[in-house]
Structure formats: structure tokens, C-alpha cells
Symmetry: C2
Subunit: 154 residues, 2 copies
């Protein structure tokens, strides 16, 4: 992991479809050297994959919501049952076990308020051991899709 790898990651995080030759010139490397480094970064798991970034609103998903979940118990089986159930919901994009007063925080998308009301009901009925669900609507995304900061100094 040197300066060149960092430059490669920074670039690929922004745009993974630029020709390697172009990228190589920008960072001061030959095409083949750059190519080999990329393959190594993939093999070593630093690059987990490549994905198209889709416009959420163009899909008709106007709402983005954070949901704070508190369970009725923090027993291991309860957490596991909840987490398994969570993965079955396509609308739940992310789920994090958290510190603080709530147990989990979810990121959920929905078409509109009616759609979210449905999802909300579905969650209450099919996610086990939920004691409370606190919904936080995002009114406006200020900053989105920013890649991870990759600093030269490690």
C-alpha cells in the first residue's frame, strides 16, 4: 500500500470505467504496472467489486429514511433472529448494530409516504422482538455518495 495504490483507489472510487492507460498516465505509471496493481488490489480484497451507481429518484424512490430500532431484549438469539429477518427486506438497504439508546439503525427507501407506511407496518409485523421504531425522514440529501477518504499519511 504505497502512494500509487492510494491514487489508484481514489480514482477507481470516483470512476471505475476510465481506461487503465489514461489512469496510469495521470498517476505516473505505465499501463501494465497500473494494471497489475489493480488486479492485486482486487485479489487482496481492497476492491470488493464494481457497481453502477443508480439514481434513486429516477427509480421512483423519493423517500429515504433512517429508522432507529430498539428491541425488547439484547439476548444473542433475539439479535440474531432480528438480523436474519432484516436481510429479507429489500427496502432495508443497511442495518447497523449501534451504541446509544437504540439497538439498530436502518436505512430504508420507499416510493412515497403511502409506500413507507406499508413498509413500516410490514417491519412491525415481520421483524421479531421490536420494542420501538423511531422514524427519521431525510428531507434533503446534502452530501451523497462520497467515497472513503484515502490519506497519503498512514
Amino acid at each position: 500500500m504505497d502512494i500509487f495504490d492510494r491514487r489508484i483507489l481514489r480514482a477507481l472510487q470516483k470512476d471505475s470505467q476510465r481506461p487503465i492507460a489514461e489512469l496510469a498516465r495521470d498517476i505516473g505509471l505505465s499501463t501494465s504496472a497500473c494494471h497489475r496493481r489493480i488486479k492485486l488490489l482486487e485479489e487482496n480484497g481492497l476492491i470488493r467489486g464494481y457497481a453502477a451507481q443508480i439514481d434513486r429518484t429516477a427509480l421512483g424512490l423519493k423517500l429515504q429514511v433512517f429508522v432507529e430500532i430498539t428491541l425488547s431484549s439484547q439476548a444473542r438469539e433475539v439479535l440474531e433472529a432480528f438480523e436474519t429477518a432484516v436481510t429479507r427486506f429489500d427496502d432495508i438497504l443497511e442495518c447497523h448494530l449501534t451504541s446509544g439508546h437504540a439497538d439498530y439503525i436502518l436505512r430504508v427507501v420507499a416510493r412515497d409516504m403511502n409506500d413507507y407506511a406499508d413498509i413500516h407496518r410490514e417491519c412491525l409485523s415481520r421483524l421479531p422482538n421490536v420494542a420501538s421504531m423511531q422514524t427519521i425522514f431525510t428531507l434533503r440529501p446534502v452530501q451523497q455518495w462520497r467515497g472513503y477518504p484515502i490519506r497519503d499519511a498512514d
Copy 2:
């Protein structure tokens, strides 16, 4: 936006590097038809770009944090000043204006607790008009990087 476009988006969201010929066979289209559709999806802005997915922990970013921010005022200039300042922080990956008791929710990454303490201080000193900052640490990511749900029924 028909069934084929949806299948294309679903596929590209998971892996944008598969050969088009392969993808086309999977969804039941010829290579060129599939290719034309992809270019159209790009032109129409449904596909905003292509990005490498980097392993956060491999970068040494062990911590992921949600921060709820309450400002001292909800005046337009105050919000704008805050939002402009937010974009200057590389460690703040996302920022959403939200409903509820707080004004904003941020997603922040950090190397470790010391690093986060630094970031926290930096935020308090350089983000204007912050009345309170509530930190929520994510202890374990349960679900990550799931693409948007793309339903056949619209």
C-alpha cells in the same frame, strides 16, 4: 423503462464489469440491444456512474459513526453555512437534512477512537452554529452495500 431495463439495472448494480454479451444472454437480449439500452440508461441519468467498492476496514477505517446534529437556529443562512462547511470534511461521507428532533444526520468514518475524537473536535470548531452533536457508533454492520430494490411492478 420495461422489464429489460430493470434487469439491466439490477445486474449492473451488483457487478458492472461483467461482459455485456454475458449479461445480455442472462436477461434474454442480444448483445447490441443490451448495449444500446445501457447507453440510453446512462444518457438519461438513471446510471450516474460506475465506482469501485472499497473495503473500508482494509483502508484502516475501523469506525463508522452516525452523528445527529442540532443547530442553534433553523434560519436559511444558518443551514446553508452549515451545509457548505460540511462538504469540506472528507470524513463526512453523507449529510442529510432530517425531520425529527435533530436537524441533520451525518455518516462519518474514522480510523479509531482517537481519530474520531480529533474529527469530533474539528467538527465542533469548524462547523458553524452547532448546538449539539449526538454520536451513534456502529458496533457491527449487519447489512451493507445492498443495491436499490427494483421492482417489476411499477
